[in-house]
Symmetry: C2
Subunit: 203 residues, 2 copies
DNA sequence: ATAATAACTGATTAGTCAGTCAGTTTTTTG
DNA sequence: CAAAAAACTGACTGACTAATCAGTTATTAT
């Protein structure tokens, strides 16, 4: 890892866990063991560093999704939903600090008046929602998922799983023990029922 | 409104929208039109002010829930779910700044080493989850809601609706247009299916 | 009306922070 | 190897911030 990458990664962890404003550039430089000036040599300013982190997150997520969608093959859309939730939670755990940073209010705050930040955030969220969209479309093809509006339903499923990640990261409840329930409820929410009812009336 | 209340309410709005660290006591005093010393006269410190806000939020939520549960009468648990989601979103909108403050990382951060903050947060979240617990219990009594584990299911339903509020507040997507889908998907998630099948088989 | 108490003020203080820059060390290039 | 370029340093600065406190004004009690 180069110095620049070291700073980037350490800053991601600190910003995610302490918050942007609460993390000082001096503290950051001390945790890595470099002079405080080095940060500004590489990133120009604290905000420049933050934007570089966002770009890195964007890049990470693009890579993860590209490799995940390359090997997609599931028995049914509904079964895929389970895998997809597991993958999302795996990602949020593997890149915990990066996901926590995305959930920081400072991030969405900055996006309001910084177009670079806004562009990254938009692209990242589209990718995250996409995983649910593809699942719903696949499930509707094999009739395992109900004919619900794809985009809207995907957004709600996303905010559900994302809310779960937050619950976990905030340590308010022991959310880790809720994984099975989350999957089951998500499936109940989306699974197709027309077949069951029809076969019932048919008899 | 007394001066003290004025400061409390203005601080709630500023902390919620700009963040705790990003809001200075000078800025706060200037928006109300009082001397900066007045804040410290009433609240001792910036953190004391924050804790007073949390107590106020706690109080607000207790009051709202007490009056809501006083007049509870619904045709079915499933119908109640719709009302309860609407009530939750109504609350989050009526007390927007207070709900946004609850979602700030600084709040859950402070709870880790401040017992007063922790106690308030715990009580508030219990009340918020309670609304879903009561609905599930009611629905299970009239057989409109499936026999799922009450607490766990309520936690997930809560995190779903709470995630929705965040989506709305962060302005990333036009979440306002998703209300009907949210209600529908929540109902699909929880509604009982055994009864339908039974009544069907009975005929 | 007067004393006593509470509410309020704002200049001051001690400390912190992002950012700078002249100078040093390391790496690359010819 | 020498010269040039890039990487890095850390003391310094000016702007800003939470908190203080001696003094002032408003309110209440007697």
């Amino acid at each position: 890892m180069t110095r620049k990458e070291q700073i980037l990664k350490a800053a991601t962890v600190l910003f995610a866990n302490k918050g942007y404003a609460e993390t000082t550039t001096l503290e950051l430089s001390e945790t890595i063991g470099v002079a405080s000036g080095t940060i500004f040599y590489h990133f120009g300013s604290k905000e420049g560093l933050f934007l570089a982190i966002l770009e890195d997150i964007h890049h990470t997520i693009e890579l993860e999704f590209d490799s995940y969608f390359k090997e997609l093959a599931f028995p049914s859309g509904l079964k895929m939903l389970e895998e997809v939730i597991a993958f999302y939670l795996y990602l949020a755990s593997k890149h915990e600090s990066q996901f926590m940073l995305l959930q920081q209010p400072h991030t969405s705050k900055l996006a309001l008046d910084n177009s670079e930040c806004h562009a990254h955030l938009e692209a990242i969220y589209n990718r995250l929602v996409e995983i649910f969209e593809k699942t719903i479309v696949a499930g509707q093809k094999d009739a395992s998922i109900e004919e619900l509006p794809v985009r809207k339903t995907a957004l709600i499923a996303f905010s559900m799983v994302d809310g779960f990640v937050r619950l976990k990261n905030n340590n308010i409840y022991d959310a880790g023990a809720l994984f099975n329930e989350l999957v089951k409820l998500c499936q109940r929410m989306l699974e197709s029922r027309t077949t069951e009812r029809e076969s019932c009336h048919a008899t």
